[in-house]
Symmetry: C2
DNA sequence: CTACTAACTTTCAATACGAAAGTTAGTGAG
DNA sequence: CTCACTAACTTTCGTATTGAAAGTTAGTAG
């Protein structure tokens, strides 16, 4: 990933400035872990976008992809620390929308704090 | 503007989820007011995008366009309250980049607090 | 007139998006 | 041991957005 300038804001937007990446992060933050669950949010991410974004998120080190069941093959996507640290950004966005846009959902209290990452068997320390 | 869902995060991204809109907001927050100055940032917004975004920002009520000089015609773009209230979001983004990306500029202290909007003569209360 | 500047606007090739269909690996029913 | 079904992708392809460059409009200055 190359950046347009050393500005931290523009660099943030180089990574996250699109309509879907942070939606996927949000869903991981509310506890979703599987591809299917991520695909079925209130906004219905296109499949082609979801697969692409999950790949990017893994490359950038903000999610771990864990094969937690072999037969049938099943995968879990879990936020890393780096991914979890995006929460304040999402909360700031949420606040802005709630005070500036009419009738948005209000942020549930449990979303406001980092939750322990779901644990999956393979190769965890 | 229509929203994908009532989620405040996805609604925020419906408005701001692109690579340039918040760059323009950032530049207005550092005190730039004129088209030319906005066009000459460290990232060089394409003209076609800048004009388009300024139009949207005015429509959405986050900037005021003020003709502050008649001959020659000169315009100033100034953030409204609604626009100014995006500052916490930009600061959260900035924080994330500074702790997670190498060698980004650090946020100047004066950027961290809302500054009085520049005053221009025409039709202000 | 001619040159020059601010503030746009238009053009157009390239990239990104997104709906839909197809693929792969596996389970379970008959 | 074929048929139907599900999770997790991948591919295709028409549409929308992007961005580099050139053009436009209104005005000043020589």
């Amino acid at each position: 990933m190359d950046h347009r300038s050393p500005c931290p804001i523009s660099s943030f937007l180089d990574l996250w400035g699109d309509k879907w990446s942070l939606i996927v992060i949000r869903d991981l933050m509310v506890g979703k872990t599987r591809y299917k669950d991520l695909a079925d949010g209130p906004e219905t991410v296109p499949d082609s976008i979801l697969a692409n974004r999950l790949k990017k998120l893994a490359e950038w080190g903000v999610v771990d992809k864990v094969r937690y069941h072999d037969r049938p093959p099943r995968y879990a996507y879990v936020l890393t620390e780096k991914g979890e640290s995006l929460r304040p950004v999402l909360l700031a966005m949420s606040d802005w929308s709630q005070t500036n846009l009419p009738s948005r959902w209000s942020t549930p209290d449990w979303f406001k704090e980092a939750r322990p990452a779901p644990r999956f068997a393979p190769e965890e320390e």
